[in-house]
Amino acid sequence: MHNMSLSFVLAAILGIALPARAEVVVVVNPNAPEASMTKEEIAQYFLGKSGALVPIDQPESAPIRAEFYKKVADKDPSQVKALWSKLVFTGRATMPKEVANSADVRKAVAANPKAIGYIDRSAVDATVKVVYAAP
């Protein structure tokens, strides 16, 4: 319990001390039944382990992509690529669709009730529903 409150205090101090950083949030269509999701649930869609939702990815060059996979799946970009190459080259799955930026992810998610994406918190609006915020 002590440790927990200490980490809260630390987090608060760091939060104040650090300059404002991009915050990654995971969004789904407002019509999707999920109100919130765990990072394990989210990771399975982005690592090709479940086809129930359609993942929308950001470009490889976007810093938010590396941050998302690190925080949600604890994987580096090359680990993610190696995992996907197993699925793609055995014909079991195809790579997630990539769009240009957070705004385009939001549009894609707003247009598809089965889509799931990650965007910068600043890009959130009423057309999508936040189900997870990366710490």
Partner: protein, 346 residues
């Protein structure tokens, strides 16, 4: 498969996309590929080191043919539930020259979010990494354990398979069932499996994977134009893999029955990831009519965005000639094998 057929196969999805483009819809065709450029050498010229059933092989002079390959894949989405996939690989196998093999050519129907059925030439997933053993980038080691993967040289199955995924208390259980026939042209022989039945259970829980698999088939072996009597064969495999907290472990135990004494193969590979650098060590052993042991150390370095560099040294201890090619009289192990490779995907 002839190169012409392969070209036609790979062009098929492109034709489909053109047809769709004419309807004013965006083409849903993806071309992707993988490959490995490698040099392999050993410390002896008394025998040739090769991947299972390759003609030729490496001696003291570094050669590209053992571990190099390049694969091209085309995936075409026809509609929400139907897609087509074609894949070809160029490598050295049945002759000591690079040749193309059509490894995949199937139509896939997504019946539901959890069930997919594929018809055509599908992967033969006998062991843990069987269906992606040619994709260096997807693997930690430079080449799959010779001791285990020599048992089933065939890559693909002409028939159908089914992939069914279930959630079981926080884990995912994938059941794979396949039926068909499979022919592999190898150095000096053609191996055909008919009436092949494959059942695999893959249980994934977070970073852990547990796999049980069983294949039964009738095997026809043609050696130098002579067809040997049919044999009932079976392959049984138990595999484990994990990648958690930078610790990477992969291990398999396999039994092949049907030809002479049962052949048993196993390996254990462990590694630790220091950022982009992943050193690993492995021990593999094959017992039966052909017997061999290998100790390996190596490193995978994810040096580039879509490419890695690997270096691996194996100490191979064959009983007799083991899995080596063209042994000269008096050849004895152990043999030290070195290899350096660049794996890429695009």
């Amino acid at each position: 498969m002839k190169t012409k057929t392969l070209a036609a196969l790979l062009a098929l999805p492109l034709a489909v996309s053109t047809a769709r483009a004419q309807e004013g819809e965006p083409p849903a065709v993806k071309v992707s590929g993988f490959g490995t450029g490698a040099l392999t050498w050993t410390n002896t010229n008394d025998a040739r080191f090769a991947r299972p059933y390759q003609a030729g092989g490496a001696g003291t002079k570094p050669r590209t043919g053992v571990d190099s390959n390049v694969g091209l894949q085309v995936d075409a989405r026809v509609n929400d539930w139907l897609s087509l996939t074609g894949q070809g690989i160029v490598r050295k196998l049945e002759t000591d020259a690079y040749g193309a093999t059509g490894t995949l050519a199937f139509a896939k129907a997504k019946v539901s979010d959890t069930l997919a059925v594929r018809v055509g030439r599908v992967p033969l997933a006998a062991f843990l990494v069987s269906d992606y053993r040619n994709v260096g980038y997807a693997n930690t080691m430079l080449r799959p354990s010779q001791e285990v993967y020599a048992q089933v040289p065939n890559d693909s199955l002409d028939g159908a398979d089914l992939d069914w995924r279930q959630e079981v208390g926080g884990s995912t259980l994938t059941t794979q069932v396949a039926y068909g026939r499979s022919t592999a042209k190898l150095a000096g022989e053609t191996v055909t499996f008919t009436n092949a039945r494959v059942v695999n259970f893959v249980l994934e829980h977070g970073p852990f994977t547990l796999r049980l698999g069983r294949d039964d088939a009738r095997m026809v072996l043609k050696q130098g134009g002579i067809e040997l009597p049919q044999l009932k064969v079976s392959f049984t495999a138990a595999g484990f893999a994990m990648d958690a907290n930078d610790v990477v472990v992969q291990s398999e135990y396999t039994v092949a029955r049907g030809f002479g004494a049962a052949s048993k193969g196993w390996y254990v590979m462990g590694g630790y990831r220091f950022g982009k650098v992943l050193p690993f060590a492995s021990h593999g052993r094959l017992t039966g009519d052909v017997a061999q042991r290998t100790d390996s150390v190596g490193v995978r370095w994810d040096a580039f965005r879509s490419a890695d560099i690997k270096f691996q040294v194996d100490r191979v201890r064959p009983e007799g000639a083991g899995l080596f090619n063209q042994p000269r009289p008096g050849f004895r192990g152990p043999v030290t094998v070195g290899a350096v490779a660049v794996d890429f995907v695009f």
